[in-house]
């Protein structure tokens, strides 16, 4: 017993007391923003001080969440406790459900027809390509596109050169950009090396979604839910089968590898992985690992189906949601911060710290003028890919309330196809059937308003 007390007392003494943040007794309006970029030091170190310097009436509070889904869960909890943050970072695959909760105020309603907020111009009409249409409905913004990304292929150029796929390490055009070219390149790579894996990408919904959009296919009926409510999923179309057949053929040939839990950093760092298809937001991380380990990192567009005309990619990543029911002055502050993020310089720095595309034209021009893209061609790929994408409902992504849940089902079904050799068409039929059930259930709880 004495020992217990000793230990407990010892711990009490050694345990550092919480740094008491005395409530700042000022009149500043607090704007809380929950985001998930814990290691992007640019946010707390540059954005926060510069925003507060420009607008001393506001106190910006950044809070790091460990992932989108968890952030949304705890946001609901915060709503239930009556103390939600003003701004929440959400993700593209969970667009409709938050709109249905009534927790958030559509951006267009909050902004109205104003052209500037607190002296910062409203740059919504500058937002580029698919990033714009993804978060719009009937041409109006519901959320603010901010961290938009698109899947691209990163390549270890030194490995590609050694395998004879590329001429030299700056020959990014040699990175395969069609389904057939991936096969050809992988054959060379696997032939050349014993212990190098050819390509890795997640068997997840996002690549599927993009593959569908690239082939001009819809994910759900009523034009992906943009021309009426979604009542049916379209996951078993020929385009879906073709994509999974391609993925499966890579797996069968031993070209596609999966490390489980996306734990590819070590393999990438050790030059044991030639190509890696992932979010363009990973550009900073990929390139830094390449520099640290002495190889050149190249990038090119997401491979498309060479037998079908390319339509376009969809954006991934996330957006920022504005809480409804705020005091007018608080809402004004939150909007000010949103517009602040869209300022060209901030857009450019956000892009540089991660690889997310600058979603505004002025942000892009700013980087262009700096010569950033000429010096960092890896970072330019995503913008090019999205610039080429058609602004049609197919590339705007599907919106229905149980989409996030269906995302989980994708993984299961795709893995079942890849690992258990399940029949592709049959698996997708089942996926569609179960997704339809979820859609039906959701529509029962939240009757869809046309």
């Amino acid at each position: 017993m004495k020992k217990v007390i000793t230990v407990l007392v010892l711990m009490l003494v050694l345990a550092p007391p919480p740094t008491l943040t005395l409530a700042q007794d000022d009149d500043r309006v607090t704007i809380r923003f929950w985001h998930r970029w814990g290691n992007v030091t640019w946010l707390p170190e540059v954005v926060e001080p510069s925003f507060e310097a420009a607008f001393p009436q506001y106190d910006l509070e950044l809070r790091v969440m460990d992932n989108y889904n968890h952030a949304y869960e705890v946001y609901i909890l915060a709503q239930e406790q009556g103390d939600p943050p003003e701004l929440l970072q959400g993700t593209s695959s969970n667009t409709q459900a938050p709109r249905d909760t009534g927790f958030f105020k559509p951006l267009y309603e909050a902004i109205g027809d104003r052209t500037e907020i607190n002296g910062i111009p409203v740059r919504l009409d500058e937002i580029v390509g698919p990033a714009a249409i993804f978060y719009q409905l009937d041409g109006e913004y519901y959320e603010l596109p901010w961290n938009a990304s698109t899947p691209i292929v990163f390549a270890n150029m030194d490995l590609l050169v050694e395998a004879g796929v590329a001429e030299d390490v700056n020959d990014f055009a040699a990175i395969p950009s069609t389904w057939a070219e991936v096969h050809e390149a992988c054959a060379l790579i696997v032939d050349r090396f014993d212990d190098v894996d050819c390509i890795n990408f997640g068997a997840s919904g996002w690549y599927f979604e993009n593959a569908m959009a690239m082939q001009g296919a819809f994910m759900a009926n009523n034009e992906n839910g943009r021309d009426g409510c979604v009542t049916e999923a379209l996951f078993n179309s020929q385009e879906a089968v073709d994509y999974l057949a391609w993925h499966k053929s890579l797996e069968d040939a031993g070209f596609w590898v999966d490390y489980g839990r996306s734990e590819y950093n070590i393999t990438w760092a050790n030059s044991k992985l030639a190509m890696h298809m992932t979010s363009s937001a990973a550009a900073r991380g990929r390139v830094e690992i390449g520099e640290g380990n002495g190889f050149t990192v190249g990038a090119d567009r997401m491979p498309f189906n060479q037998d079908v005309d390319y339509v376009g990619n969809t954006v991934g990543g996330g957006m920022i949601l504005l809480t409804d029911g705020l005091d007018p002055e608080v809402e004004e502050g939150a909007l000010t911060f949103l517009m602040f993020l869209l300022e060209p310089e901030n857009m450019a720095n956000w892009h540089k710290s991660t690889g997310y595309i600058p979603v505004t034209q002025s942000g892009f021009d700013y980087l262009e003028a700096e010569g950033w893209f000429d010096e960092n061609p890896t970072f330019a790929v995503a913008n090019h890919q999205l610039a080429e994408s058609a602004r049609v409902p197919q590339t705007a992504g599907a919106i229905f309330g149980s989409f996030a849940q269906v995302y989980q089902m994708y993984r299961e079904v795709f893995q079942n196809i890849l690992r258990n050799d399940a029949d592709i068409q049959e698996s997708l039929d089942r996926l569609k059937a179960e997704a339809d059930l979820l859609i039906e259930e959701y529509n029962l709880l939240v009757p869809c308003e046309e």
Binding site: E73, I76, V257, Y259, R261, Y264, K272, R411
Partner: protein, 433 residues
């Protein structure tokens, strides 16, 4: 009208089944049948009134195909689960009524009469209630009420963030059976299937829970006993060895998951694989191959529990009387025989104790390890029942389906507890709750 027929049918069925069973255990046939009829009646009413007899509605159907001996039959999962539910509730009623009947006459008053154990304080009528109130209220509110709430939520369409809910009969349960997104297959080591069920998602998840439990218990106990035997030898520094081996018990599941992910992850370039390669072995896809991922979870969890097992087994081994061992060696038994015939029987109560603690742990407490090691993948290969509940209820925010799964989990607990009581008699165990 169909409701009345249904209730009568359940009553009749209850009479037949319970009557037959009770007759075997020595009660009269007629009495047993009467009891069964009452139980069937009450059971069907108790199960069906809250459900508004929805399973009788032909509109409520979720079909799945079942192939038995080459014949494929289509079964309505909603009706099947409804039927099973009525039978289980009726059976519980029959047991309860039978209990009451037996005990009522014999010692009807004893339940309410205070025992007369020596040493009790006299004249304090309210004190015990005050002493007990916080615990009883706490358990009622935070254990029993949510447990009961599960049954209600299991019949609802309910989503987090959506204020609206809707009654949906037994669809949440039926969807467990009818979900066909994944294949389930289990085999002994790598040669030959035991069985392979196509399109049976929940079965696959259930199988994972069983797999983890069996192998974690096996590994943690075999290694635990082996190490304990070594460490309980009369050698210099035994205490130091023991201390150096038992501490992983105090390490949290999160830390175990995170650390093992670094050791095992990274494909062919991860730490363990580089070490294997250095020793001339082929790399192993620890976290990306479904079977190796399961093995990895077992290894991590067994490592976590091993320290505790070693501690208990060392204590158990030291309690084996030396005279027994000496007697056995005089009889000419070698070390291995002595171990099998003397040591193991002597420590068997401890083995049961540890096995059941480990079993409870591996069924219910693996979430932190799995979430941080494999996130349930690949192919849901490491998704067990608890991980699935969290995935559906929290990550997908589908509360109704998660509640239905929780009830399945609850049935598993009752099964495990029943087993525990059967094997260990009345010795109730304790663990960290």
């Amino acid at each position: 009208m169909p409701a009345v027929l249904f209730t009568c049918l359940a009553s009749g069925l209850g009479a037949l089944v319970v009557g037959a069973l009770l007759r075997r255990s020595g009660s009269g046939l007629l009495g047993g049948m009467a009891l069964g009829a009452i139980a069937g009646l009450l059971g069907s009413l108790a199960a069906m009134i809250p459900l508004k007899y929805c399973v009788l509605d032909p509109e409520n159907h979720m079909f799945f195909e079942l192939s038995i001996l080459g014949q494929t039959i289509t079964v309505n999962a909603v009706a099947l689960i409804g039927f099973l539910l009525v039978m289980v509730v009726a059976w519980a009623f029959a047991l309860a009524i039978d209990r009451l009947r037996h005990h009522w006459l014999a010692r009807s008053a004893t339940i309410w009469k205070a025992d007369t154990a020596p040493g009790t304080f006299v004249g304090y009528d309210f004190s015990p209630w005050i002493f007990l109130a916080p615990t009883v209220v706490g358990l009622a509110v935070f254990t029993y009420y949510p447990a009961a709430q599960n049954f209600f939520l299991g019949t609802q369409l309910a989503r987090r963030g959506v204020a609206n809910t809707a009654f949906n009969c037994l669809d949440n349960f039926a969807s467990l059976i009818t979900s066909r997104l994944q294949d389930a297959h289990y085999y002994i080591l790598s040669d030959g299937f035991i069985w392979h069920a196509e399109n049976a998602r929940y079965l696959a998840v259930f199988g994972n829970s069983v797999f983890f439990s069996v192998f974690i218990v096996l590994v943690a106990n075999v290694l635990g006993i082996a190490i304990a035997v070594l460490a309980s030898q009369k050698i210099r520094g035994a205490t130091i060895y023991r201390t150096l081996m038992i501490w992983p018990y105090a390490v949290s599941g999160v830390v175990v998951g995170v650390v093992f992910a670094v050791l095992l992850g990274g494909g062919g370039s991860g730490f363990l694989n580089q070490s294997l390669r250095f020793l001339g072995f082929e790399p192993i896809p620890f976290l990306s191959d479904p079977w190796w991922a399961r093995v990895s979870v077992v290894a991590a969890a067994a490592w976590n529990k091993l320290g505790f097992n070693v501690l208990i087994y060392i204590a158990a081994l030291q309690a084996v009387p030396r005279e027994l061992m000496e007697a056995a060696s005089i009889d000419g038994a070698n070390a291995w025989k002595r171990f099998l015939n003397v040591t193991i029987p002597m420590i068997s109560p401890y083995i049961f104790f540890v096995v059941f603690l480990n079993l409870n742990y591996s069924f219910f407490d693996l979430y932190a390890v799995i979430d941080n090691l494999t996130e349930g993948g690949p192919v849901n290969a490491t998704t067990n029942l608890v991980v699935d509940v969290i995935r559906i209820g929290v990550e997908s925010r589908d509360i109704g389906k998660a509640a239905a799964q929780s009830i399945v989990l609850f049935i598993v607990v009752i099964g495990l507890t029943y087993m525990q009581f059967r094997v260990m008699g009345r010795r109730v165990t304790y663990g960290a709750d």
